[in-house]
């Protein structure tokens, strides 16, 4: 009897959940199905995802899985977003980051306002930061980085000018590469300065020509003709200008919904 009541209650709850999609916003924003994180890491990441999502009013969701069940990573991410009813507000604003351990795929699905906030260029920038951690197997750091970047992107989008092709956030200062360049410049300068000092010590050198002994006015050019022989023309193809259109490309998911997003391997 008790079992029947609980079943009934569950059914009512499910109906309510469908009727009020906003309700689903409370769904856990971290679904670590592939169990890549420890319990502590899950709690910490969950907390920061909730914090970022609530402050920015855009759901930031991270999903891991061991199998895509025959879908592409992009389809899986889109469907997961729809099926679990993520997204805040009327347009169901949200971004979902999927990591598939089965084939080492990743995918990002954006919906609603997030399509504008996370442009194609912006997503590619975020993945540039996240991918090294994924490849190294440091998933906790990868997801934390993703969350922080999302926070930054959402804030930036609120200012009315989302990060895009021509205003991506700055890459961090590369200490090693810049130090190498600086040392290179230093050595060249050192060689030039000391080379110049050394040259002053050496004053004995051959005279290669006799220009100071030319009899003044003795130069007499009796024949001077220049005639054209032939010409050659070579051409090289111009490098194609890259598209700087910016913005987001969108696609339609299996449920007929419009998503932005990108996917790849790590």
């Amino acid at each position: 009897m008790k079992k029947r009541i609980s079943l009934f209650l569950t059914a009512i709850l499910l109906c309510l959940a469908c009727a009020f999609p906003v309700w689903a916003g409370t769904e856990n924003r971290l679904a670590d199905q592939a169990v890549l994180l420890s319990a502590d890491e899950q709690d910490a990441l969950s907390a920061s995802l909730d914090d970022i999502s609530e402050r920015g009013e855009v759901d930031v969701v991270i999903v891991t899985t061991d199998s895509l069940g025959g879908k592409t990573a992009q389809e899986y991410a889109d469907d997961y977003f729809t099926d679990y009813g993520y997204g805040q507000g009327e347009d169901r604003d949200g971004i979902l980051f999927l990591v598939d351990m089965g084939d080492r795929n990743w995918a990002i699905a954006t919906h609603g306002y997030a399509i504008d906030a996370f442009t194609d260029a912006g997503q590619s920038y975020i993945m540039d930061q996240v991918k090294p951690y994924l490849s190294d197997g440091d998933y906790s750091e990868a997801f934390q980085t993703f969350a922080l970047q999302c926070d930054d992107f959402i804030m930036q989008a609120e200012s009315g000018k989302p990060y895009d092709v021509d205003n991506l956030p700055k890459e961090p200062f590369d200490v090693g590469a810049n130090l190498l360049i600086a040392i290179g410049v230093g050595i060249v300068a050192g060689l030039l300065v000391t080379g110049n000092m050394r040259r002053k010590l050496k004053t004995v050198q051959k005279q290669e020509q006799a220009a100071s002994y030319v009899r003044k006015g003795s130069m007499d050019v009796t024949k001077s003709n220049d005639f054209y022989l032939y010409r050659t023309v070579s051409r090289t193809a111009k490098p194609k200008e890259e598209e700087h259109s910016g913005g987001s490309t969108t696609h339609t998911s299996s449920s007929g919904d419009t998503f932005g997003g990108s996917s790849g391997k790590f």
Binding site: A189, M197, L201, T203, Q207, Y213, R215, S218, V221, R235
Partner: protein, 361 residues
């Protein structure tokens, strides 16, 4: 019937044929097309080239008059073999080139009498002053070299020079290119036009000097050039009083090669300067003939300062006419290391800060 003339392609050197389809001469090897007129002009200018010839008539130096060389003494250095000449009143004790003692070998004999001499204009004091200046402003010069330096000998020496006068006839053909760039929507174009450039003419050189003494290094003597020949006078033994003279031990014939090199280079440079407006110019055929060449034997005034430091012999020379002072100096290795490390360090830091600022802005 017209005479068959074979043309060589100015582009690749292959034999060229008339291509009736384009009514032009076309090279079967490199596919370059030419006007018939262009080719015949080109062939004509190539044919005109004459074989190269560089030679001098040798009439340098004169015979001593009777009794003229009697008052002159020769000394020979037992260490380096240098031979010097002085008048009977100027006793030489040390070799001006290496500092070793010299011995008198007797009266001057056999050698030719110089045609000209440029008398000393600057004295020993000026030479010592110039030496001091020579040491200043040189950060890598060992301090000890400056302070411990004792110039053992400061000698005024008349150095024997062979002087070559000549007119050079040049006949030079260059290949020049002009390039033009333009682009349309998809391509960048580079057009290279090839020209045959011909220059013919003459240029005269007066008194190109070559050091005729083995004791004096050629590069040291070339370093204190030029001497102004307008101040040269006919040689008189009286000019030797108080100075030494080096006897020539390299003949005028042996020195010609060096003068040739320099005159050739200057002639090439002078004619190359008349070719203007091209993006590249390569000489294809250079022909320089020397005419009416005469050789003279002259003594030029040189102050020679010589010192030893840490087992090395350092020799300085000053042009006794113009005061040009030269001489290689030793390098202070630790000062070199300090300057190198210091400059490298400071510039590295500055460059790093600039790179950071570029990133931050």
């Amino acid at each position: 019937m017209a005479k068959m003339q074979e043309f060589k392609c100015p582009c690749c050197g292959g034999s060229i044929e008339f291509d009736s389809s384009v009514q032009k001469m076309k090279c079967p090897y490199c596919d370059t097309e030419f006007d018939v007129k262009t080719l015949s002009e080109y062939a004509q200018s190539v044919e005109e080239e004459e074989p190269e010839n560089m030679s001098w008539s040798d009439e340098a130096g004169g015979e001593w008059q009777e009794g003229e060389s009697e008052g002159l003494r020769t000394y020979v250095c037992e260490s380096c073999g240098g031979e010097i000449v002085s008048d009977a009143n100027t006793a030489a004790t040390a070799c001006p080139f290496c500092g070793s003692p010299v011995v008198m070998t007797g009266n001057l004999s056999g050698a030719l009498k110089p045609d000209y001499v440029i008398p000393f204009k600057l004295d020993k004091k000026a030479a010592k002053e110039k030496l001091k200046q020579h040491f200043t402003g040189k950060r890598l010069l060992p301090k000890a070299f400056k302070s411990e330096n004792h110039i053992s000998e400061v000698k005024g020496i008349y150095v024997p020079f062979w002087l070559y006068d000549t007119d050079a006839n040049a006949d030079i053909r260059y290949k020049g290119t002009k390039t033009r760039f333009w682009s349309d929507k998809d391509y960048d174009y580079t057009e290279t036009s090839y020209y045959s450039i011909h220059r013919k003419g003459s240029i005269g050189f007066d008194h190109v000097p070559v050091d005729g003494s083995k004791s004096m290094e050629n590069d040291l003597m070339e370093s204190i050039e030029p001497f102004d020949f307008r101040e040269a006078v006919d040689f008189q033994t009286a000019y030797l009083a108080g100075y030494f003279a080096d006897k020539y031990d390299v003949t005028a014939e042996e020195c010609i090669e060096r003068a040739n090199e320099r005159i050739r280079r200057s002639t090439e440079d002078a004619f190359r300067d008349t070719v203007k407006g091209y993006s590249s110019v390569v000489p294809e055929n250079t022909n320089i003939r020397l005419k009416n060449a005469t050789t003279k034997y002259a003594l030029y005034p040189v102050w020679v300062l010589q010192t030893r430091w840490k087992g090395e012999n350092y020799i300085f020379a000053m042009n006794g006419q113009t005061g040009k002072f030269v001489g290689n100096l030793p390098t202070d290795k630790s000062a070199f290391a300090r300057w190198f490390a210091g400059t490298t360090g400071i510039v590295t830091v500055i460059a790093y800060i600039i790179l950071y600022l570029i990133w931050a802005l």
